[in-house]
Symmetry: C2
Subunit: 234 residues, 2 copies
Amino acid sequence: MPPAEDLETLARAEPAVAADEADGRRRRGNRTRESILQAAADLASVEGLVGLSIGRLAAELEMSKSGLFAHFGSKEELQLATIDAARRRFVEHVVKPSRSLPRGRARLEALTNDWLAYFRSEQFAGGCFFHTVKAEFDSRPDNAVREVVMEDVRQFLGLLAREVRKAQEAGDLDPAVEPEQLALALDALGAAANQQFQLMQDPVVFDRAATAIRARLDSVAAQLSDGTTIHSTR
Amino acid sequence: MPPAEDLETLARAEPAVAADEADGRRRRGNRTRESILQAAADLASVEGLVGLSIGRLAAELEMSKSGLFAHFGSKEELQLATIDAARRRFVEHVVKPSRSLPRGRARLEALTNDWLAYFRSEQFAGGCFFHTVKAEFDSRPDNAVREVVMEDVRQFLGLLAREVRKAQEAGDLDPAVEPEQLALALDALGAAANQQFQLMQDPVVFDRAATAIRARLDSVAAQLSDGTTIHSTR
DNA sequence: CCACAACACGAACGGTCGTGCTACATTTTC
DNA sequence: GAAAATGTAGCACGACCGTTCGTGTTGTGG
């Protein structure tokens, strides 16, 4: 598999177990491998990908360290495979659901709402996997994991910016706004909500974040010919 | 020292080495201790407070592991002391400078600008110390370090909210806005800028963040009696 | 100048880390 | 059903972890 596929391409793939059964029949080891990766993603969302230890992971899955290790050959391979698994989970919960909606502000807003819901429901044991891993690798130069994570971040920011642009083309948002600028603001609010929720355990931050996002979108809503503006759909 | 002092109280303390020479003469060990903590804060801003290892820190300072260890007695004590040192650095660069300005939007904007400048100048080797540590401990329940970090986060959010409120009282911002709501938005933008700068190494994010902050403040600027609004000071 | 803290050091402990290697069990393939 | 491939376990390794201890070294007050 090439270093990192496009997020939207991934969203079009089959339901859940995608990397599996791609070539012929599903073997036993692949099922084990997949369950390892799911547990690894959860553990890493708490301890980080560096803090993720093979012994601890093996104990959690009630299998031997060496048996688990044999699936990957090195810790770095395990880290990279874990990111792949986590990305699939992220796409499933955040990217995919809103893809069926028509382009425009409603879809953009659905995307951000799904994103916030994904934080709130704690799909990963320790909050968003990528939040933890981003912070862990953001200042480790010359690291293969870092490059992959960075590419994923770039992909998601790109996705947000593209959706903004589509909403502009649909006539919902002011076309004078720089999509990247708005994408940064949306990304910032989501990340901050997840962070504060993990730290304070108070879900009220999601209301605040949703409010802030809607306010931000309202503030750049396109003027209709009758002088009114399109406001939030809820 | 009580668990965590107020940020603004800290900002009023003597210049740099505050914890030092409090009781009488400055001994040799205290100087060593301080230099250890400065190095520890830098190292932890990259590796985290868990990843921070005593052996590695000792090697960097060209002293023995046991000699260094003796200053703290346990790793957790070292972690807590490192947070104290990092907090002093943060206060010095972010909280303190704008305190001399009169209350109002200008002061709030100076605070956020100093904050962004602090990110940009990389006062810590791996970006903002607290960003790394927050992410590291945000999902580790029943941890003493986590509690301290959480309190610091709360303090900073509180500071932002207070400055918003003062700007409202000064007539610069719309008093109908919830200070906590605006504080969240400002915090989110700053954190996102630091994060993306660390990851992408592109300082353009600071311009975007500054723009977004100014836009946000403009959008809640109080209406003057002549119908105009107070805009950014730059 | 001496005594006594305070400070720093080296060696070693029990643990855990990632990583090999070898042997056994289980599938899959012919 | 034998052969080949695959998956898992056991054990050992060197490196590093936090921590302890005994012993020097150093600086300072009487």
